[in-house]
Amino acid sequence: MKFVRDTLDKIKPAFEKGGKLEKLHPAYDAFETFAFVPKHTTPKLGAQIRDAIDLKRMMMTVIIAMIPCLLFGMWNVGHQHFLALGNLEASFIDKLIIGAWVVLPVVVISYAVGLGIEFYFAVQRGHSVNEGYLVTGMLIPLVMPPTIPWWQVAVATAFAVVVAKEVFGGTGMNVLNVAMTARAFLYFAYPGDMAGATDVWVYTGGEKIVDGYAGATALGIAADQNTTDALASFGSFFSFENLFIGNVPGSIGETSALMCLIGAGILIFTGVGSWKIIVSGFVGAYVMAALFYVIPGGNAFMAIPPHYHLVMGGLAFGVVFMATDPVSAAQTEVGKWYYGFLIGALTVLIRVFNPAYPEGIMLAVLLMNVFAPLIDYYVIEANKNRRIKRLKLKIA
C-alpha cells in the first residue's frame, strides 16, 4: 500500500500541469483515485463534511447486484451446451468452466472497448473518467446471446458508448440506456446473430446437437407457434419453475428471474435502484398480460398466463437493471411510477402483438427512455402550478 502510494507520487509530476504527459492526466487520475480516495477536503464555505458515498461505490453496488446473474449465466451457458449435446452427466464444474470460457471473453471485450473509449474522451476533454461505464460494461455481456461473435460485441460497445453517450456529453447526459442501445444496435444490424433458432442461443462448440433439443427461447416459441403447441411446450421444458430458475436458453444473464430478483433485492435494500420503478415495472407487465389473458381468442401469446410473462425473456433483467438506470429513467419520484409501469406494460404489448420482435423489453426501455423527460415535464409542471395557484389565491 505504501509502495503503491510512493510509486504514484513518484510518477505524478509527469502528469501534472507542465509535465511531459500532462494530457494523460485524466487517465492517471482514474488509476490513482481507484487505488486511493484522494486527500481533497471540503471547500471553505458550505458543507464541511461529506457523506461517505461516491459514484465509484454506487456503481460497484450495481455490479455486485449483477454478480448472481453473471455466475448463473455462466453456469447456464454450460448447462445448455451439454443439454444440446445430449450429455446429461456433465458436472456443475464442467458447466461452469464451459460457461466461463464463453462468457468471460465477452465481458473482457466489453470492458476493454468501452473503457478505452471512455479514457480517450476523458483525455480529449480533460475530464476525469466517470465510473458510469463500470456498470454498462457488465450489462452489455449479460444481454448478449452466448454465441455472439466477439467483433460484434466490440462494434456494438463502441457504437453505444460513442453514439448513445459521448456525443451527448458523457456520463449523466445520455438520453438512452447505453447497454440497451448496444443490444438494439446488434438486433437491427445483425438480426441473424441476435435472434432465431438453436445456433444463436446455445453454445455448441461446433458439435452436433442431439435430436429433440429445440434450443429456442420461450419467447421465440410463443411468437412462432400456434396456441396449443405453445402451451404444450410451456407445460414441460418451459415450465414456470424452469423459467423462474432460468435453466433455459436465452441471453447470457437474463434467463433467471430468480437471480434478477436477488439483484433487485440488493438494489432496493441499498437504495441504489429505485424500488418504485422495479415494482411498477412488474405490475405493469402483469396487468397488461392479465388483460390479454382474459380477452378471448387472439394469438398464442395472449393465452399465456400472465405470471409467465414476468419470468420469460429479459423482462425481469430489464426491469431490474436497465429501467433503473437513474440517468435515462424518469428523475421525479412520481414520474418513476409511470415510467416503470409503462415499461412493463409496453414490453408485454410488444411481445404479444409484434412477433417480429419477441423481446419487448429492449424496445420498451428505449422508448420509455425517450419519454422519461416528458413524464418528468408534467410532474414538474404540476409542481410549478401549485406555486402559481398559491399566488393567485393570495391575490384574489
Partner: protein, 450 residues
C-alpha cells in the same frame, strides 16, 4: 400549527457542548466584516483609521440600502480597515477598551415599547447596529426597511450538528426576548411566527403576541426556511423577514437597556475540542482568542458556524456575524487506500450502498473529518435530495435551472423559498460531490441582480 416533518437526516457528531457556561472570553481586538452579509455592493465607510468609536457607533453602510447602519460591536480605536478588490472594505479592526463604552439610545420599560410607533422602532433599530440580525427572504439579505414584511419568522431551535441548545442559552433572557418580539410587531402587519420543537416545555412558550408552531422532525426541521414553506410559503413579490432568538435578545436589549450590546452565548464544540462548553462573547471576537488552549493538539479545521453551512476559518479570522457556534473537526487531508470500496461503519452515510454500514447504528456519535470522500462527478443519482429536503421543491431541477441561467424556471421552481442552509443536506448526501450551496447562491445572486 403542528408540523410533522418526516424527511431529513440527523448528523450526530461527537463533541456536543456541555450545558455549562464557562465564562466570558474577552479579546483585545474585535473585527467587523461586511463580507458576512450577502450582496453588499456599494459600501460606504463611515470611520477612519485612528478614530475612536463606542459600541453602537456606525462604521459602515451600504449605499444600496442606506438606512441601515452597521455599528461597532465594542468601543475603542479603529486600528485598521483592510480593503480588498475594488477597495471593498473587508475588515474593520477595533482595539477594544478595557471598559466598554456604549452609545446611549433611548431606554423604555416593557410597557413603553408597546406604545412606540413603527417609525420610532425603525429609527432605533436601523441606527443602533441590531438591524443586521434580521434576514430578508427571498435572497437572504439585510432587510430593506421599505419592504414591509408579510410576516416575521423565528425558529426557536437549531437542528444542525453540534448546534447550541437555545433552551439553555436563553434561560433567564425571557424579558429581552419578549421586548424583541414586541418591537418587531411594529414592523409587520402580519404575524410573528415562532417555531418550537413539539412535546417539550419551552421558554419560548411564554412569549406573548406571537404565533407558536410546534414542529417535530429531524434536521432540517429547525431551519426557518423549511418552517416558512409549511406555515406560509413565500411567493413572488413578497418579503418575509426572519431572525433568531439571538436577534430578539439584542433587539430587546436595545429597547430595555438602551444600548447595542452584541454579547451572546455561543457553543464551542466538536470532537477536537478538549472540553466542549458554552462561552459568552461579543460579536467580532477573534478565533485565536476563542479557541486558545481549548483545542486538542491535532490536525483540525475550525469552522465558524455549523459543519453543514459554516465557513472554514483560521485563527486570524473572527466568528461570523450570524454564527453562534464554533465547530472544530478533524481535517481529512490524507489518502485512503481503496477507501471507495472498503466496508466501513465509522464513516457516516445517508446511503446504504455496498459497504456503508452506518445505517446500522444511527444514534451513534461520530467523529467525521473534512475529506470529500470522492471526487466531483456528473449528476447520476436521482431521488435522494428529495429525501433530505422536506419541501415541495425539486432540488435537482432547480439546480439545473440555475446552471442554465434560466430565471423564469428558477422562479417557477421555487427559488424564492430557499436559502443555502436549506440545501445543505443535499450537498452532504450528494454522490456527485457538487458544491450545491454555492450553486444556489449564484442563482439567488443572479436573480436578485436581474
Amino acid at each position: 400549527m403542528n408540523l410533522k416533518l418526516k424527511k431529513g437526516f440527523d448528523i450526530n457528531l461527537a463533541g456536543k457542548a456541555k450545558p455549562e457556561l464557562a465564562g466570558e472570553i474577552i479579546s483585545e481586538i474585535y473585527s467587523f466584516k461586511p463580507t458576512d452579509f450577502n450582496a453588499i455592493t456599494r459600501p460606504k465607510v463611515l470611520v477612519n483609521e485612528g478614530d475612536t468609536v463606542k459600541a453602537g457607533t456606525p462604521i459602515f453602510r451600504d449605499k444600496k440600502n442606506e438606512q441601515v447602519y452597521f455599528c461597532a460591536p465594542v468601543s475603542g480605536e479603529v486600528v485598521s480597515i483592510t480593503r480588498g478588490a475594488k477597495r471593498f472594505p473587508e475588515e474593520f479592526k477595533i482595539l477594544a477598551d478595557k471598559e466598554i463604552q456604549y452609545v446611549e439610545f433611548p431606554k423604555y420599560s416593557e410597557s413603553d415599547i408597546t406604545r412606540l410607533s413603527k417609525e420610532e422602532v425603525l429609527e432605533a433599530m436601523l441606527k443602533s447596529g441590531v438591524w443586521p440580525n434580521l434576514v430578508e427572504r427571498p435572497f437572504g439579505l439585510v432587510p430593506n426597511p421599505d419592504n414591509e414584511p408579510r410576516d416575521i419568522f423565528i425558529s426557536a431551535f437549531d437542528t444542525h450538528p453540534l448546534a447550541p441548545d437555545y433552551e439553555f442559552v436563553f434561560k433567564g433572557q425571557e424579558k429581552y426576548l419578549q421586548a424583541g418580539v414586541t418591537a418587531l410587531q411594529k414592523l409587520t402587519k402580519g404575524r410573528i411566527h415562532i417555531s418550537i420543537p413539539s412535546g417539550n416545555s419551552s421558554i419560548f412558550k411564554s412569549l406573548t403576541g406571537v404565533q407558536i408552531h410546534q414542529v417535530s422532525g429531524i434536521h432540517p426541521a429547525g431551519n426557518v426556511g423549511v418552517q416558512i414553506h409549511h406555515i406560509a410559503p413565500i411567493s413572488r413579490g413578497e418579503h418575509v423577514w426572519t431572525t433568531t432568538p439571538y436577534g430578539l435578545q439584542q433587539i430587546g436589549r436595545l429597547f430595555l437597556d438602551g444600548r447595542y450590546d452584541s454579547s451572546k452565548v455561543i457553543a464551542l464544540a466538536g470532537s477536537e475540542v478538549i472540553e466542549p462548553k458554552y462561552y459568552q462573547i461579543k460579536n467580532g471576537i477573534s478565533i485565536a482568542k476563542l479557541v486558545e488552549n481549548k483545542l486538542k493538539d491535532t490536525n483540525s479545521r475550525i469552522v465558524s458556524g455549523n459543519v453543514l453551512t459554516g465557513l472554514k476559518v483560521s485563527k486570524e479570522d473572527i466568528i461570523g456575524f450570524n454564527h453562534n457556534l464554533i465547530s472544530v473537526i478533524p481535517e481529512g487531508d490524507d489518502y485512503e487506500f481503496l477507501g471507495w470500496i472498503l466496508p466501513t461503519s465509522k464513516k457516516l452515510s445517508f446511503h446504504r450502498a455496498f459497504g456503508l454500514f452506518s445505517f446500522l447504528s444511527p444514534k451513534k456519535e461520530r467523529v467525521l473529518n473534512t475529506n470529500m470522500n470522492g471526487e466531483e462527478r456528473a449528476i447520476v443519482q436521482s431521488g435522494v435530495f428529495e429525501q433530505v429536503l422536506p419541501m415541495d421543491i425539486y432540488p435537482v431541477f432547480l439546480l439545473k435551472a440555475i446552471l442554465a441561467n434560466d430565471f423564469e424556471e428558477m422562479e417557477a421552481l421555487g427559488i424564492y423559498e430557499v436559502l443555502e442552509e436549506d440545501f445543505a443536506l443535499c450537498e452532504f448526501v450528494d454522490v456527485s460531490k457538487m458544491e450545491i450551496q454555492r450553486i444556489l447562491r449564484e442563482g439567488i445572486d443572479a436573480l436578485q441582480e436581474a
